[in-house]
Symmetry: C2
Subunit: 335 residues, 2 copies
């Protein structure tokens, strides 16, 4: 075992704009042995999430940035292959903050066991993992949709957005997605069952939104920001709610980004705008996983992973797909 | 009585930028007699409120715009001088939506009797009227301040802001104002008892805010928007609340106004941003007036009116003082 190699992605410099291969050191090093209270995971899948770009920047954010020279942070999933930890034994499937590397040492913090019999490993960092939990709490606890209301979600074909619209439908709402390009829009409506999906790249966002939301918008689940947020603000109903989950359109910006021009809608329509991250609901994760699993088992909640090959070396290029709209479904890197 | 003259301000055209005298017809017409279920008020004081500028614009807002040719909407207060309404008799003091005119006919809608023995007439459109109720509900219900937290309010010397900071102090919070110029800042700290007040015109808003709020900002009561909102967003604490009461910095703008550059703080700090108007709490107005009156009687809540002479003819010029920072305390026009 000690002759094995850990291939690991370390942050070399803070990226400017989109990430580049040169921002990372991708190196081989000897696999480490777990110390007391630790275990080692052979990582099978790495989750690629929009928040990663923020983790690489030095600015204040909701978690500390990854330090220069440190292993790139990620949610990953794999099997325990060595353990000195009483709670994790060899063969256990484990998901958590294990980093972009082939072999991770953990003391169990921010890790939890998952059940490969209930769903394939990659789904535990997708629809049943952080993205699923984010959709669940963000829509239901922050958005507070009521039956018959109209729910709009941006990045609707993505890991979180695809679930938000489906959960909205389960709750008796009209679900309208916003996505980029006809293929994604077709997927969102025909395969995921949204009532409508608007192609923001088609150039008629305001009019298309009006047509798709004849009764206005009651709940907006925000993943994107920028022009899309502005268009939505112009259609929000009185006492509407906006759950701010992400603002991906600005994550790679090198200039200050103006906020929404229609910010005044917050006042005029007495909106409630609330930022959240899934960790704010950490003590209720089992509830979310149980509901998500039940809906999935009943065929009401379709989950789709977009699994990319290439191992850890492909990390920078695959990550960038998130910001160029190159993925369809939960983006996952297979090691 | 029927020989009397009503001098009235009618909206002639929708203003572009700041209002001008030419945007109004200010005319004499015979005083009308009240019909069945109506009464007539001889108006003594007209309230000048930031929202008035929005009422003159054709765009969607929380109340319909004033129509061209219609009497300019305002909160006013005066004494009933003729009545065919069972609820209002001659001599009653009445406040409400009576318009910018010397003699107003009303059916009682959006009007209520006030007690001149408890407070002078002009205070019933000030600290005990809509501005006072706005401060009360906006801070306590939307801002939800907790003892020991830091509350910041913009337009701190104004009708609403001056009360927000004082109520924050009553609730055991650190109260920090933002106002324009040393005289207003001195007034806010020395006469109203705020812990600190920042002069945004001094050019060090970000640094001054940092110094005045060493523990960050938990609650922000927003009257202004623009650069001030941006500076505050940069200092908000985790799970902070922003009560959006007004965005006066943009009311006279003729170009689209960008939203806050630091909008991302909503996500990073998981803020709750909520727009409100006092009418959202209409059923609880007696509660607010009771508390405001008690605090004022106990000397805990200082109220100050900035009463201007000149009659209805002075309306356009006096109104503009709100947008140029020319008033100190609740701006009122005496007829």
């Amino acid at each position: 075992m000690s002759g094995d190699i850990n291939r690991v992605v370390r942050l070399k410099s803070r990226p400017v704009g989109m990430v580049k291969r040169e921002d990372f050191d991708i190196v081989d090093e000897p696999v480490a042995e777990p110390g007391d209270g630790e275990f080692r995971v052979k990582v099978d899948y790495v989750s690629l999430d929009p928040a990663m770009r923020g983790w690489m920047s030095a600015g204040k954010s909701y978690v500390p940035p990854v330090g220069i020279g440190e292993t790139m942070r990620s949610f990953s999933v794999g099997l325990v292959e060595a353990s000195n930890h009483p709670g994790f034994k060899v063969g256990d499937a484990v998901a958590g903050l294990l980093g972009v590397q082939t072999h991770a040492i953990s003391n169990g913090e921010r890790c939890y066991k998952v059940d490969p019999a209930q769903a394939p490993l990659e789904r535990w960092i997708g629809g049943l993992g952080m993205p699923g939990q984010t959709a669940y709490f963000g829509l239901l606890e922050v958005g507070e949709p009521k039956e018959g209301e109209t729910v709009v979600v941006s990045a609707a074909s993505g890991a979180v957005g695809s679930l938000v619209g489906q959960i909205a439908r389960i709750k008796g709402c009209r679900a309208v997605g916003i996505a980029g390009g006809p293929e994604k829009c077709r997927y969102v409506v025909e395969e995921l069952g949204f009532d409508a999906c608007i192609d923001y790249k088609a150039g008629n966002l305001a009019d298309d939104l009006k047509a798709a939301c004849p009764d206005g918008i009651d709940v907006y689940f925000e993943n994107v920001g920028g022009e899309i947020l502005d268009a939505v603000l112009a259609r929000m109903n009185l006492f509407g709610r906006i759950a701010v989950c992400g603002l991906i359109s600005a994550y790679n910006s090198t200039e200050p980004v103006p906020g929404p021009y229609n910010f005044r809608s917050v006042l005029v329509n007495r909106l409630r705008v609330r930022g959240f991250i899934v960790f704010d609901f950490a003590d209720r994760i089992p509830e979310a996983v149980r509901h998500l699993g039940e809906w999935a088992a009943a065929g009401k909640l379709k989950m789709r992973e977009d699994v990319r090959d290439g191992g850890v070396d492909a990390f920078p290029d695959v990550l960038n797909l998130l910001y160029t709209g190159g993925n369809l479904g939960k983006l996952v890197l297979k090691l």
